[in-house]
């Protein structure tokens, strides 16, 4: 297994007043999963579900509050930053905002060169070679783009640069945090296709974080569903879409519109309310307040149940 995450938690302290006790935002709690080499998974959840926090904690951009992260057999949960340099080379990050993720006063060339310089990869000539190749791989002509500045590129082009930057050191794992949410619909497809190509070519594992379940079908092997800091369901893609089991997953699937004119005559059956505050989440199952199947038993945090091979659901009533 390339990545093993066990009972991972990340809390953020929030002080209330000078004398008040510290509250914690329990952004991610008790998450367990594994990812194999070359596997791509979609981590789906709405904003505030903890999906971004989970991704960043895996990358050790945050320090885990509890649990364990194992990468390539090594326990990296609490290793200090200075010993994590190798990990930075093995992982890559693509962020959501194409415009904010590039240093405005660097040329595209410099932006791509930075990871190489920082990790002391190659001589000046070798780096130039690498940068030019990676630009070609993301379908941006080096001659045209290498010496432009970020503000001269469109959102789609910038995301290509972001992808290039994430993979330039040939990492084993790439985390893409909502990489297409800020792009126009017509451009999203191109970027998602690019991810698919890269993943196949390099056999990279990709964690694709998104709130839009409908984009996940296209290149992920597995879908993980997050709700209010918990990983509530995970399964191979086709299986999840055919047999959504967790009430939240079912609601998600029901809520997503497809282009059908008869929609306007129907009401969608979705649970009312909104996700809970993560400062004081409900005890046990966090979906309980909105769940049609909820009982008192749900005050106790449900275990993960494997209802079919590879299909895990965190619910007392999973079948």
């Amino acid at each position: 297994m390339l990545l093993k995450v066990e009972n991972l938690s990340k809390f953020f302290p929030m002080k209330k007043g000078i004398f008040g006790k510290t509250y914690y935002v329990r952004a991610v709690e008790n998450v367990t999963f594994e990812i194999d080499k070359g596997e791509s998974i979609s981590l789906v959840g709405e904003s505030g579900s903890g999906k971004t926090t989970l991704g960043k904690t895996i990358l050790r951009l945050y320090d885990p509050t509890g649990g364990k992260i194992e990468f390539d057999g090594k326990d990296i949960t609490h290793i200090p930053e200075k010993e994590l340099k190798w990990y930075r080379k093995e992982t890559g990050l693509v962020q959501q905002n194409p415009f904010g993720s590039m240093v405005p006063h660097f040329t595209i060339y410099k932006i791509l060169e930075e990871p190489l310089i920082v990790n002391k990869i190659g001589t000046r000539e070798e780096r130039r070679e690498i940068v030019y190749n990676i630009l070609r791989e993301v379908q941006l002509s080096p001659e045209e783009f290498a010496f432009k500045y970020p503000h001269m590129l469109s959102g789609g082009q910038l995301q290509r640069v972001a992808i290039a930057r994430a993979i330039i050191m040939n990492p084993k794992l790439v985390i893409a945090d909502e990489p297409v949410s800020m792009l126009d619909a017509s451009v999203r497809v191109e970027i998602l296709n690019l991810f698919e190509e890269i993943q196949e070519k390099h056999n990279m594992s990709i964690i694709y974080i998104t709130h839009d379940l409908s984009t996940t079908r296209y290149f992920s092997d597995k879908i993980f569903i997050m709700y209010a800091g918990h990983l509530v369901e995970r399964a191979p893609t086709k299986e999840l879409l055919r047999n959504p089991t967790h009430p939240y997953t079912k609601a998600l699937l029901e809520a997503i519109p497809d282009p059908d004119p008869s929609n306007r005559f129907k009401f969608r059956e979705v649970p009312p309310g909104e996700p809970p505050s993560l400062v004081n989440p409900p005890k046990g199952c966090r979906f309980k307040p909105r769940c049609p199947l909820a009982t008192d038993k749900c005050d106790e945090e449900p275990p993960e149940v494997e209802i079919s091979p590879g299909h895990f659901v965190k619910c007392w009533y999973a079948q």
Binding site: K56, L59, L61, L84, K85, R88, K89, T91, G92, L93, Q95, Q96, N97, G100, S101, M102, V103, P104, H105, E114, P115, V118, N119, Y149, P150, H151, A162, R165, M169
Partner: protein, 460 residues
């Protein structure tokens, strides 16, 4: 906030700057000051300027408290410049007793509307045993001859000040009164006697002759001499009471003013940026400590500390600069810059950098600090005249370097000699004018820069 949007390139800023007429004016003035500074450093004995300024002997041949020459335009009168009575070959060499008498006759024309300020004769003598004797005869254009006395001179340089020789003056006055046949009610100055028409009181224009007889013992005894009829105007900026030409002082003050202001402003801003970057980026304890330091600085008494250093250690320009920097680096700008840093820190590109392993130092210096520079440039420019004035003010209070010439020092000297009371307005006005022009130049440039850089601050 976009501390600096993408479109803020140096070229773009410069281009836009040139579209403001006020900025162009400012730049022209600044260019002029720079030219003056370069000229001062390259073509004048700049390194010795302080020593020269303090050495009175250097300036003997300049007129005292002379106004600038162009004031003639305003006064309508043609005030005299220096006129030199130069030694030429002796017209006659004869024997007088045991001595050799050399007679020199020199002429000069004087066509001004006012009397000169002083008359001094300079001698340089080398001789074996006996001191040479000099006698001077003044012959006015109206034919009146006046004896200016006989003097014995020593080896080396001697100067004979005639203008404050009260005995000579009263003797001459008596002589005139005899010749006129009446008494003159006022007391006359030497210059009045030597240059005015006795009847009308106007200054006589025409050719004046000086006959100088030098009596030496030996043939080999040499006496060189020059007479100077000192003017009342001199040069572009006049002179002060120690005969120092102010234009030279202003020239020497220019590079110091510019350098002081620029170095102070640049170093303080730069150090403040680094401090803010560390404070804002790392947060936590480091941030708290730096913030408390900033607050302490707000109550630090700046002036008393300078006075203290001056008393204990004496003050020179470098020490002043250093003190100024040390006492300013935790100033309130740090609070502003820190906020910018904190905003920049939250940008995705900082996070991306951490993801590929960039060190914090690298992020601060290569990713964050460069974005802070454009918004600080206007205030950097606007601060320069402030520091120039500060040095001037400190010089005025006697807290600056006494071994260099600065504009502030010139103002200080003017005031302590009561220049305004005595009517030597140029002495105060000229250095003040330089200070003001410098301030205006930077202000114009800085304000235009502010207008260019700040609207884009919103996109930071």
């Amino acid at each position: 906030m976009s501390v600096v949007s993408e479109e803020l390139s140096l070229k773009g800023v410069v281009k836009e700057l040139l579209s403001y007429k006020s900025a162009i004016l400012g730049l022209i003035i600044l260019a002029g000051l720079i030219v003056l500074s370069i000229y001062a450093i390259l073509f004048t004995p700049f390194a010795e300027s302080g020593a020269l300024w303090n050495d009175q002997q250097v300036w003997l041949k300049y007129p005292r408290t002379a106004a600038p020459e162009w004031t003639n335009i305003f006064s309508g009168k043609k005030l005299p410049k220096n006129v030199y009575v130069n030694m030429s070959k002796p017209v006659n060499i004869s024997k007088e007793g045991t001595r050799i008498k050399r007679t020199y006759i020199s002429e000069f024309s004087f066509n001004y509307d006012d009397t000169p300020s002083e008359v001094i004769f300079f001698f340089n003598a080398s001789y074996e045993k006996l001191r040479p004797k000099i006698s001077i005869l003044w012959i006015r254009p109206d034919g009146e001859n006046l004896s200016l006395g006989e003097y014995k001179i020593r080896k080396g340089g001697t100067s004979i000040y005639l203008s404050n020789n009260l005995r000579l003056i009263s003797d001459l006055q008596e002589t005139i009164e005899e010749r006129l046949g009446k008494k003159v009610n006022k007391s006359l100055t030497l210059e009045d006697i030597l240059f005015r028409d006795f009847r009308t009181g106007d200054v006589m224009k025409g050719t004046y002759t000086v006959r100088l007889d030098v009596l030496v013992k030996n043939e080999t005894d040499r006496v060189e001499w020059q007479g100077i009829v000192y003017g009342k105007v001199y040069g572009l900026a006049g002179t002060d009471d120690k005969r120092r030409p102010l234009h030279l002082g202003l020239l020497w003050g220019a590079p110091i003013a510019l350098a002081f202001g620029l170095v102070a402003s640049l170093s303080i801003t730069f150090i403040q940026l680094i401090i803010s970057a560390i404070s804002g980026y790392y947060g936590g304890k480091v941030d708290s400590v730096i913030q408390r330091l900033t607050e302490i600085y707000m109550i630090l008494p700046f002036l008393p500390m300078l006075v203290l250093v001056q008393l204990l250690y004496g003050m020179n320009l470098w020490r002043l600069l250093l003190l100024l920097i040390v006492l300013s680096i935790f100033g309130t700008s740090v609070k502003t810059y820190r906020v910018w840093v904190m905003q920049l820190k939250s940008y995705p590109y900082v996070e991306a950098a951490k993801a590929y392993g960039a060190s914090n130092m690298r992020i601060i210096f290569l990713y964050i600090l460069p974005r802070l520079i454009p918004p600080t440039i206007p205030s950097l420019v606007l601060a320069v005249p402030g520091y120039v004035f500060l040095e001037a003010a400190l010089a005025f209070l006697g807290l600056s370097d006494v071994n260099i010439v600065t504009w502030g020092r010139i103002v200080e000297e003017a005031f302590s000699e009561g220049a305004l009371y005595k009517g030597y307005y140029h002495w105060v006005l000229m250095p003040s004018l330089m200070l003001v022009i410098t301030a205006i130049s930077f202000a114009l440039i800085g304000i235009a820069l502010d207008r260019i850089v700040n609207p884009k601050l919103k996109e930071m």
